[in-house]
């Protein structure tokens, strides 16, 4: 077991984490970034065919110049004592001690169960993009992109750039909600440019609002999707369904560390400080807000952890502006109540333990469901069904216990406080 002390340890190498590490190092602190992926960038800045997106490059270059230590392909699974994290990588267990910790663990997709959603080739929207970026060829493949949020457009655009045959984008939000949202865009010039780019590159692709998948079907893998729009239902053949219903903050590690969690994510003060001393949070885990907000929150956390509150303060205005955009986004893409009727009694809710909806129907909450059905107790620890049941039943996961991800027994043994 190796033990090392770091001034500012950042968990997550996405936009918020990279910005935080760069700013902390700029203040003279020793900084390190740990990420479960082999390459920096997180989800939104994930490298495609080995190349990082242009927006990510300056941060990665700066991190290198500032001497930020990069700890890739390692996953935090426990916090054995204050100021220390236990991690696992392919070689074994690693222990890191820190003076300040910045959590930038990002977000994951919300999945909603519908008949056939467990079939191979039904994927998340961001999930499919991640797989294509990491080497899955989709040239000529028929893809339906569905769910909700601006991510659908980004995914469709990316898949098209990889020569996929994007048949349809099904956005559950109403046209009227999107129109109100678009009216706000002129206040955010960077978003206008992005929208224009989407419109151009998705020219000719059907974009249907108020539309969602009702069922996926096929022999051993996806072959067709049944969609609904208003009263009309119809079936489209396809090779892949890329389907995500918005994003959820990855708050498990923050919860394990005892940080206060609010309705939108980890609660922070103006300097991105969580309720726990020396623990900051930045980016999507404090509430879904997009990449620009994540970067500025990361910068504020980095400056604050590095002792430069004055420089952090200068970014408050920018953060507030991006925050207003995030709030409008949340309203525009709120999930419609009709989506609660997609899952049928036999539809699996928990994919790890194969628990169908009718088995949890009489359960009063998470505890009850876990005790009686094992729902949420498999390897994903409720990360998939949790988001679904939060929407379907209003259940909130109650507790997070170590290990926050499945690890080898040898790694667990190694986390015992040394005598």
């Amino acid at each position: 077991m190796t033990d090392r002390a770091i001034d500012v340890l950042v968990v997550g190498a996405g936009p918020a984490g990279l910005a935080a590490a760069c700013r902390a190092a700029e203040c003279g602190a020793s900084a390190a970034v740990v990420d479960e992926n082999a390459r920096p960038g997180g989800q939104i800045w994930r490298a495609s065919a080995g190349r990082l997106p242009a927006a990510a490059q300056p941060w990665v270059v700066t991190a290198g110049k500032q001497g930020v230590e990069w700890i890739p392909a390692a996953q935090v699974f426990a916090a054995p004592e204050p100021g220390r994290l236990a991690l696992e990588n392919a070689e074994g267990e690693l222990s890191l001690t820190y003076r300040s910790l910045i959590l930038a663990t990002g977000a994951r997709e919300r999945f909603l169960p519908f008949p056939g959603w467990t079939l191979p080739n039904v994927m998340g929207a961001g999930g499919m993009q991640a797989l294509v970026k990491s080497g899955l060829p989709v040239e000529g493949k028929k893809v339906i992109v569905a769910g909700t949020g601006p991510l659908l457009l980004a995914v469709a655009q990316y898949l098209r750039s990889r020569e996929a045959d994007v048949r349809l984008i099904a956005e559950q939000a109403r046209r009227s909600a999107l129109a109100r949202f678009s009216a706000r865009l002129p206040w955010h010039p960077e978003k206008v440019a992005q929208t224009a780019q989407f419109a151009w590159s998705l020219f000719g692709v059907r974009f249907l609002t108020g539309c969602w998948p009702m069922a996926a079907a096929g022999e051993g893998r996806l072959e067709r999707v049944t969609l609904r729009r208003g009263r009309r239902t119809w079936t489209e053949p396809c090779d892949y369904l890329a389907c995500g219903f918005g994003l959820l903050p990855n708050t498990e590690l923050a919860e394990l560390l005892g940080c206060q969690i609010g309705a939108r994510g980890v609660e922070v003060d103006e300097f991105q400080r969580s309720s726990r001393e020396n623990i900051y949070a930045a980016g999507e885990i404090t509430g879904i807000g997009g990449v620009e907000l994540a970067v500025v929150e990361g910068e504020i956390a980095g400056f604050a952890a590095g002792g430069r509150q004055d420089r952090a303060r200068r970014l408050f205005h920018e953060r507030a502006s991006h925050g207003r955009f995030a709030a409008a986004l949340e309203r525009a893409f709120a999930l419609r109540q009709e989506l609660k009727t997609l899952a049928q009694p036999e539809t699996l809710i928990c994919r790890c333990e194969d628990v169908p909806l009718d088995r949890i129907r009489s359960c009063s909450g998470w505890r009850d469901a876990k005790l009686h059905t094992r729902c949420g107790m498999g390897p994903c620890q409720g990360r998939v069904c949790g988001g679904a049941l939060e929407f379907l039943r209003g259940w909130k996961m109650e507790s997070v216990r170590p290990p926050v991800v499945p690890v080898r027994v040898a790694s667990l043994v190694g986390t015992e406080p040394s005598a």
Binding site: P120, L131, R221, R351
Partner: protein
């Protein structure tokens, strides 16, 4: 770094660009059932980012490894359930 790497998926060689994940290579190799669920259903990658554990495979003899979080290395041996 080599431009391509070759791994074996259920014994069959698959050559992919360096940096490709095992999940992408397995899909490319025609694998549809990465694992069998507790009731025997075929499952394949869902989240693509290490959250869902649906893409778990046996890699170099180690069971239950998330293939979407594992980059292909030369001569890697990958088997499905």
């Amino acid at each position: 770094m080599a431009e391509h790497v070759t791994i074996r998926v259920n014994g069959a060689p698959v050559t992919v660009p360096a940096g490709t994940t095992v999940a992408a290579a397995a899909l490319l190799a025609g694998v549809h059932a990465f694992r069998r669920s507790v009731t025997g259903e075929p499952r394949a990658p869902l989240c693509g980012m290490g959250i869902c554990f649906e893409c778990c495979l046996t890699i170099n003899g180690r069971a239950h490894v998330r293939s979407c979080q594992t980059v292909c290395a030369e001569s890697m041996e990958v088997t499905t359930d």
